[in-house]
Amino acid sequence: MLSLSRYRDLPIQRKLSIIVVIGILSAIVVTVANFISFDRDNVKRDLIEEMRVLARITAARSAVAVAFGDRANALENISALALRSTIQYACIYDQQHKLFAQYRRKNSVFSGCDSALLTGHNLVQHDNLLAVVEPIQRKGQRLGDVLVASDLSPIAERTRKWISTSFFVTLAALLVAYLTTRRLQRSVVQPIVDLSHVMDRVRSSNDLSLRARAKGHDEVGALVNSFNDMLRIVENHNRDLEMLYRELVEKSAEAEATAASLEVRNQHIKDVFGSAAHDLRQPLQAMAIFADSLFRKVTDPEQLSTLDKLKKAMENLSGLFNEILDASRYEFDSQAAASQTIGVKDLLSRMFLEFEALAEQKQLKLRFYTPDYKVRVNGALLERIIRNLLSNAIRYTDRGGVLLGCRRRGQYLQIEVWDTGRGIPAKKQADIFSKFVQVDDADRTERGGFGLGLAIVKQFVDNLGYDLSVESVVGRGTVFRLRVPLASDETHASANAAEALLHAPDAPVSTQVASKSGAIHQTRLDSLEPPNETRILLIDDTLEVRQALKMTLENWGFAVDDFVDIESMQAFYYNGGPAPALIISDFQLADNITGDQAIAAARRQLHSDVPAFIVSGAETEALWQSISATGFMALHKPVKPARLRAMINHFLR
C-alpha cells in the first residue's frame, strides 16, 4: 500500500521506466520458465533415451553371460557403464528376477540394486533418480533384465545453466530496453512536463496570455490544446470582467456623485420642509385659537354646531399634520439622535398633562404610575414613542381608561401602556407596525390618522435598539410594552425602588396607583376655578400667534401682557407694569434670542422666579433637545387649547 502510494508520487518518466522493466521482466520470466520447463522435458527424454540405449547394449552384451551364468563377464559388461558419469548403479537380473550382477558407483548416495527385480515397469522415477529396465533377450527368449539408474543431475545442471544465462540475457535486455525507450519515453513525458511548467508560470505570473506548445496529435496533444482553449476562455472572461469592473467603478463613481448631490438636495428639502413646517404651524395655531375664541362668542346653536365641526376638523388636521411631519422627519435623522440620562418621572408627568385633557374629552380615566427611574435614552424620541402609544390608546378606547406604568426588568425599564379598547385580533398584531395599516379601515375616517403612528414608533424602537411588544385580547384591551435601558447607576441602586404591580386595564383604575408620586398631578379641566385677574406674560415674535394666544387667554379670563421682544418687555416692567403670575414664551425669538433667555430676563426684571413654560413650533429634534435642555416645560405649536389650559392650570395651582 505504501509502495503503491510512493509509486503514485514518482515522476511520469520513472513510472514509464518501471512499467517497461516490469513488462520485460514478466515477459522474460514467463518465457524462461516456459523454456526451462520445455528444456527439462527434453533433457529428461534424452536422458531416458540414452539410459535405454545403454541398457539395451548392456543387455545384448550380457545375454551370453546370463545364459551361461558367468557373473564375471556380466560384471565386466555392466561396469563399462561407469564411463557415463550420471549412472549411479546398474543391475542384471536373471530369468527368475534374481540379482545376477551389479555395479554401484563409488560414493554414490543411492543404495544400489535390490536383490530382486520388483517392478514390472520399464521406467522408474523417484526422488532424484531415474531407472530404466530393459530385458535381456535372445531369439525371442527372455533371459533376464538390465536396470540402469541415473540421477537427474544433468537436468538440474542444465536448468541452473539456463537460469544464469537468462539472468544475464535479462540484464542485457533491460539495458537495451532502457537505451531504446529513453528517447521514446521523453517524447511522451516532455509535453506533460512542459504543460505543467506553463501552468506553473500562469499561476505565478498570472499571465493568461501564455500558451503551451502541442507536439503531436495524441492525447497529450489534445490535452495541451484543451488547456490552451481553456486558458483562452479564461483570458476572454477575465478581459470581460475587467471591462465590467471598470464600468462598475465608473458607475460607482457616478452613483457616489449622484448620492452626494442627492444628499445636498435632501438636506435642502429637509431645510425647506423644516421651515415650511414651522411656518405652517403658526397659522394653524392661530386658526385654532381664533376658532376657540369664536366658540366662546357664538351663541347661536346652529352656528355652534358648525363651529364644533370646524374645531374637530381642525384638530384632525393638526393631528394629521403632526403625524405626517413626524413620519417624514424621523425617517431622515432618527439615527443621529444621541442617548442621555433622563428621569422618567419628569418626562411622563409632562405628558400626563397633555393626555389627561384628551382622555377627559372621551370620558376616559387616565392613570400614570411612574417611579423615579433614570433611563439612558434619547429623551425626545422616547417621548415621541410614548406619546404615540398613549394617543393611540386613547384614540381606540371608547370606554374604561388608559394606564401607563413602569416596572423594572433587570437592566431595563419596561414602560407599559394599557387600554380597555377593543383589542387587536391576533392575526393583525404583526401588521399594526406597518405603515398605513389600521385594525379597521373605517378608523381612518372615524378616528383620524393614517395609520402611521405605530409604524413610526416601530421605526424608532428598531433604530434605538429598544424592544416593543404587544399583547391584546379582542374586546378586552391591549397592552404595549416598551423596554428601554436603565441608566447604569440606576441598575445598581434600585433595590428600594418600589415596584408596584400594574392592574389589568379593565380593573378599576384606582387613584392610589397614580397619586403616589408628588410630581404627578391629577388635573381636570372642569375642576379649575376661573382665574381672576391673573396676569400672564406672553412673548412671541409672530404677530398672529401672539394675538391668537392672547385672545384665547383673555377669553379664559386671564389678563395678558404681550411683547414682541425682550426690550419691549423690559421697558414695560421697568415702567412699573404689573407683575405676571406666569410667563409663556416662544422659543425662537427674533435676533437669535431664545425663550429661556427671555424668561431669564423677565425673572431678573421682576426679581422673582415666576413660573414659565415655552411654546414652540420647532421642527427639528435638535431644537427640541435644546428646549428640553433649558429645563422648561414646552408645548408644541399649534397648541391645542386643552393642553394650553392644562399647562396653565398646572403652574397656577
Binding site: R61, A63, V64, A65, A67, F68, G69, D70, N73, R138, K139, G140, Q141
Partner: protein
C-alpha cells in the same frame, strides 16, 4: 641322518599328495552332481541359442533344430527337458542317435558322449559334412575335429571353442559367446 629323515618326509608328503590327487580325480570323474548335469544341459541349450546356422542348414524357416545325443550322455534327462522349447521360430528337437545313420539323417548339434571317444579318430571322417556343431566333453575334443568342448575346471563348468572348425562347418559363433570361452583354438598344429 637328518638328510635321510628329510628325504623320508618329502617322500611321504609326495606320496600323500599323489594319493589325494588320485583320489580326488577319481572321485570327480565318477559321481557327477545333479547341478553339474543341469548346467551342462543348459550349456548345450545355450549353444543352440548363440550359434547361427546358415539358412541352408534347414529345409524351412521353421524347421526344428535337431540335437543329437551320440553315446552315453549322463545329463541327457535334463537335456530332454529342453525338448520342444522355441529358439527363435524354431523348435529344439533332442533325439538319441546311436548309429551313424541316425547322425547322417541330419543333426545341427551333435553331442558326443564320453563313451564314444574311442571312435572319434574315425568318427570325423564319417560325419564330415557341414552345419554340425559338435560338442564333446573330453579333453582334446576341440583339438581333434570338434568345435566345442565342455569341461569342468576347479570351480565351474567352462567350454573351449575351436573357431576354425566352426567356420569349416559353416557356423557363426556369437562374439559374446567367444568372449565367454575359456580357450579359443585354431588348428595351427595342422
Amino acid at each position: 641322518m637328518r638328510a635321510l629323515a628329510g628325504r623320508i618326509v618329502f617322500k611321504a608328503v609326495s606320496i600323500f599328495c599323489v594319493a589325494v590327487w588320485a583320489a580326488s580325480s577319481a572321485f570327480a570323474k565318477e559321481p557327477k552332481s545333479e547341478a553339474e548335469k543341469q548346467v551342462r544341459a543348459q550349456f548345450v541349450y545355450n549353444f543352440a541359442n548363440f550359434v547361427e546356422w546358415p539358412d541352408d542348414a534347414f529345409e524351412k524357416d521353421d524347421s526344428p533344430i535337431k540335437v543329437c545325443l551320440f553315446g552315453n550322455v549322463f545329463f541327457a534327462p535334463y537335456l530332454y527337458s529342453f525338448n520342444g522349447s522355441l529358439i527363435g521360430n524354431r523348435v529344439l528337437n533332442v533325439t538319441k542317435a546311436d548309429s551313424m545313420d541316425q547322425i547322417r539323417a541330419g543333426c545341427h548339434i551333435l553331442y558326443v558322449g564320453e563313451d564314444e571317444r574311442v571312435r572319434l579318430p574315425t568318427f570325423w571322417g564319417q560325419i564330415r559334412y557341414i552345419y554340425v556343431l559338435s560338442i564333446g566333453e573330453r579333453t582334446g575334443f576341440a583339438d581333434k575335429g570338434g568345435i566345442v568342448n565342455i569341461l569342468r575346471t576347479r570351480d565351474r563348468v567352462q567350454f573351449d571353442v575351436n573357431i576354425e572348425n566352426a567356420l569349416i562347418n559353416g557356423l557363426f559363433l556369437d562374439s559374446d559367446l567367444l568372449a565367454l570361452a575359456r580357450v579359443i583354438k585354431r588348428n595351427t598344429q595342422k
